[in-house]
Structures are given as structure tokens and as C-alpha cells.
Symmetry: C2
Amino acid sequence: MKILCEKNELLSGINIALRAIPSKTTMEILDCLKIKTEGDSIVLIGNDMSLGIETRVKGTIVEEGSLVVNAKIFSEIIRKMPDSEIVFEANETTANIKCEKINFDIAVRSAMDYPDLPTIEKNNYAEMSQLTLKDMIRQTVFSIGPDSDQMKAMTGELFEIKDRTFRIVALDGHRISLRKVELNEDYGNQKVIVPGKTLNELLKILSGELEDKVKIFFSQNHILFEMDNTIVLSRLIEGEYYQVDRMISPDYETLVKINKREISDSIDRATLLLKENEKKPLIFNMQDNEMEVKLKTPFGKFEEKLLMEKEGSDIKIAFNPKFMLDALKVVDDESINIYFMNTKSPCVIKDKNETYMYLILPVNFNDD
Amino acid sequence: MKILCEKNELLSGINIALRAIPSKTTMEILDCLKIKTEGDSIVLIGNDMSLGIETRVKGTIVEEGSLVVNAKIFSEIIRKMPDSEIVFEANETTANIKCEKINFDIAVRSAMDYPDLPTIEKNNYAEMSQLTLKDMIRQTVFSIGPDSDQMKAMTGELFEIKDRTFRIVALDGHRISLRKVELNEDYGNQKVIVPGKTLNELLKILSGELEDKVKIFFSQNHILFEMDNTIVLSRLIEGEYYQVDRMISPDYETLVKINKREISDSIDRATLLLKENEKKPLIFNMQDNEMEVKLKTPFGKFEEKLLMEKEGSDIKIAFNPKFMLDALKVVDDESINIYFMNTKSPCVIKDKNETYMYLILPVNFNDD
């Protein structure tokens, strides 16, 4: 195998395929990237057995072939090469990587040893902007649950298409995060649970450009994200997702409109009195047009008064400040609406069209 | 005690005093900052018993006083306040910190509990630009030795004034780093060992402006750095420093002139084949006008050829690549001179006037 490729071209391909290399594994072969030639492309493949990524870069193929190379060493070598043409030439055991007057020799293995990505049927798909998908994942994925065998569905996100509406939902038992968007075409209905790890890697691969498209293929056990030069193939989480719509009530007793920046800054300030991972109730005392934000910990007391607009009754309620901040961080609106029912029911932060909806359960508090 | 102070003014003072707050301590009081009023200044003091920092900021003193407050909480509170005036009002147990509509209440303690900074005699001093001192420390401090009771002197740097020349030396048994500068006046001769920790904190306090001056006071057991609004007072390390001048020979067999950037980049590339803290000899093979840089590890082989100018004999010699990189990083010259004697003697990187001198011991190697 002998290939020629511009350093930056090759490096950007490697960086994508690296996303599927596990940080820890007992199978040594999974620490490797597979490199193969295909027409005038160099194909780079990473695979951790539940997530597989395949990306192609343009290059000159002098001699065809395929092999497997340690991902970390190979990526570091290419990263530290000058901005020039890389010549990669390998026999069965060793690859020589040359750039200008620099030479690296590293070990390679047979591509036969590397696990193939599963082949899936490409019957059902939907298409959208990479920017849209990236935003929707970013704005929900923080509220998936921690790794757990009992509640596997919580460790992923619901991807649901119904009547041309695409909806993503994440929940962890204390909160629900939900984003939806109208699709341009009718792609049929779908409902799958995508692992959180896949989504976190996908976030770093999706381009963030409105014009760039991504096709999502749905199959029995897998989901496939197809972009221009890259595919991301992931196992799905088996089982039923939670009945989210039953958990959200449209009723409310109090509606508060408040400046998002001001309430975020206030909570951020309050939480400096908390040690890492310490939980204390953050109290919102809403009377007339004033929201009093209060927090008390062994370190001291915090209190700030914010202006707001209120419809409905006064209410005093408390939340885990982290959950409140997480939701506020991903809402882009300058002014937000928060809906309250009573001190025991969740509050809901949402816009008029419910393109976003963040539901957070309150916590008990003792305000003396 | 009641004081008023602009947030940013107060915060920059706190950030300086914080440098003397130990990250870990068994004496709880050392986790605190002392705050006291003095004329129209607010004085902030940190003290870890071997290093003390005192800095003053302008403010309005409504009621005089002094107290002690948890450094971390207090600094976080001020950091997260809006860019506006802070009102700090305290009784014997509690301080109220107010800014706009934000209120924090935190515990305070009596200033009586806090250890005073030692008073030193200010007879002997030298003055120089803060930029000069900062550069000289930065360019040497990386080669002080690790913490050790046996070789205490290695954990600090030699500060030596002799015939108007100020010299800083650091060494760790494998290398010596040395910087010197001419002073504008004759301040008399001095020779002390300053702890590495003091120097690392000082690096973050010195301004880096040529016009800003620092006075260095030398006393029996302490060194005092006096800047505009801040003093840094440190214990000295007791004992004799090493006879550095005996370790450096002006003789050489080979002089190599090489582009600093090219040799640094080459070593940087080679070291990616090393695991963290792994040691392998980096071989320089210098023949005619070519320097061959080579490194071999279980991961693979590296080889690069660099152009150079050479006077004297050919030589093949090996070094710890980290030590070589450390020295090259802090040399600002575009082209450097490296002096070699033989494969068992240290190489020396230095300029004509010896304003800098980096001596590095070679390592054994086996080049097959």
C-alpha cells in the first residue's frame, strides 16, 4: 500500500475516525484505525463495536491496500508533521510515513483482524440540516441519565418522527429536555433510542452549517448518520422509551416572564456557595413583580432580587440549581417563560410553539 | 468594618494575595485572607508561613477594621459580582457583601488569629525592571530539582549579585540553567537561595512591563520583593549553593549553529513516540553540515535531517529529549549555538555574551 495525501486533509479525516476509538478497551485491535484505499479515496475507519465511523479523504493512490495502525500514534505523527504532503508506504508489518526530510517507521497489522462495520438496510430515512441536528442534540443531551443497566433507556435519547415533526427527548428522572422541529418532507414515522455516547461524538462531527445536510437511516438495531464524506453507524438501545407526553401537563397556576441572562447569572452566583456535587435547594420566591433568589449553605447566605412579569398566583418553590442552570444555558431566547403549578409539581420552561420544553422537578425546602 | 470598592479593583488585589494561600494545609486559618484598612487603602494579606503576600487597593473606608475571611469563597463571590461597586460590611462574626441587588452573608473571624508577616531589615537591596526579573525566572525555574530533604538547595534558585552583575541559576543534577544581566547601579554583593514555590508565584505577580520596577531586599533569612502596591516576602533556603562555575568548562571540540525552531520542532515530533515520563535517548548525529535527529521506542522509529553549520569535529551524542526541549523553549534567539566536548561531557547552549547558558548532561545510547 502506498498513498500520498496533504497533511491537513489526512489529519481532519483521522480526527473524525478517532471519535470511534474507545478511550479504554480490553480488545487491543479497537485501539487501531483501519486504513484502506477505495478508488481515489483513502478511507479511515474507527469502530468500538457499538459505534463505527467511516470517513474518506482525497489522496493519490499509488498502490492499493488496507491495513490497521495504532490510532493514537498515527494521529500524533500526522498532527506533528509540517504542512506538506505525506507519503505513507507500508508492507505487511511496517509503515514508513514520510514528510519532507522526516521519517517515521511504525508497526502495522493486517486489516483482516479488524471488525467490519455491520451492513444495514437503507429503506427508512429522514434528511435535515446538520446545524439543526447538532443544536437539538446539544440542547438536550445534558439531561440523559447516568450509565445504568436497570434504566438503559435513560442513557440514550428518544429520536421520534411523527407526522413530519422530528422530536428529541432526554430525561433522567429529575427533568425532561425536549426539542422539536418540522421536517421539509414526510419521511414516515420512526421511534428509536440513540445511545448518549453516540450523540456526544456526533456533536463533534456534525458541521454546524445550515447548508450541510445529514441523512438519518433507521433500521431494526442501528441508526446511520450519513454526511458528505463520513458515516456514523451506531447500535440502538433496545426497549420502550418513557411515555413523556403523559408526564407533561399544559396546566399552570403561575406564569413568569424573566430575562434569561439575569436569572442565569443569579443562579451562577448563588452556586459558588456550594461545594462540588453538594445539593442545596435554590429558592425562588415570586411575589408581585419581584423574584427573590435565595440559597443557604454552610459557607453563607445568598439573596438577590430580580425583576419579572407574573401572571397568576404568587409562589415560593425550590429547585436543584444545577438542573435549572443546565436548561437555561441552552435556551437562546432573551426573555423566557417559566410555568409553575404548585410547589410539588415540576416547572416548565418553554416557548409558545413548544419547539423547546424543559421540565424540572422541584425539591423540598425549609425557608426560615 | 465597612469598606466600598470597585469590583475589578478589589478582584485584582484578591487575585494577587491568593497566590500565598496554600492549596492544602492542616492549619485552617491559612485558608483565609486577612483584610484590613490602612488610610484610604484596603490591605489584603495571604500567608502560608513560608511565603507572604500583602497588596493594597484603593477604596472608601467608611469604618476602619481588620478581619479574616475564607479566601476561596470570598474571591469567588467578588469574581461573580457585576462590574459595579462592592459594599463590604462586617461585624465580629459575619460579613455582608452587597453589590446592586445582590447580597451574600459569610462568616468572618478575628484578625488576631492570623499569623503576622515577619518584619525584616531593609538595609540591602537591588532594583530592576519587573520584566527583566520575570523573564530571568521564567527562563530558568523549570530546571530546579524536585522536592527533597537531602538536596534542599536544588529546590530553589541561586540569586547572586556580584560586581553589578545579577545572576540566577537553577540546577537539578542533569542540567544547569543560568541567566545574567547587568544592573544599573552597584548594590553590593549578595548570594541567597530562593524557594522554587516563591518564584513560581512571583512569576504570576510580576507585571511584565519594562517600566515597572521591583526592589529586592535581602535579609538574613528572608527575601522581599517590593512592587508598587504589593510586597512578596519569602523565607530563604538555608545552606550553600553548588559551585556552578566549576561545573562549566569554556572548552569545546564542536560548535553547531542551528535554527532554533527547526531543532525544537524536530525533537517535539520525535517525542510523540514516547509514553509520558518514558526516557529514551534522542540521538544527534552531526556530520559535515547535517544534523540527523533519531529516536527509537517500542512504538516506532523517528529520523529527521536538519541543516546546520559546524565548526570542529563530527560528533554523535544523545540527550534526554525533554531537557533539550525545556532549554530550547526559553531561548528567544532564532539561531542558536550548541557547544560539544565529547559524548560523555555536557553540551552547552549559550550566546556570545553568556547572558544565557543551558548545560545538559548527555545520556548513554546504543545506535544500531
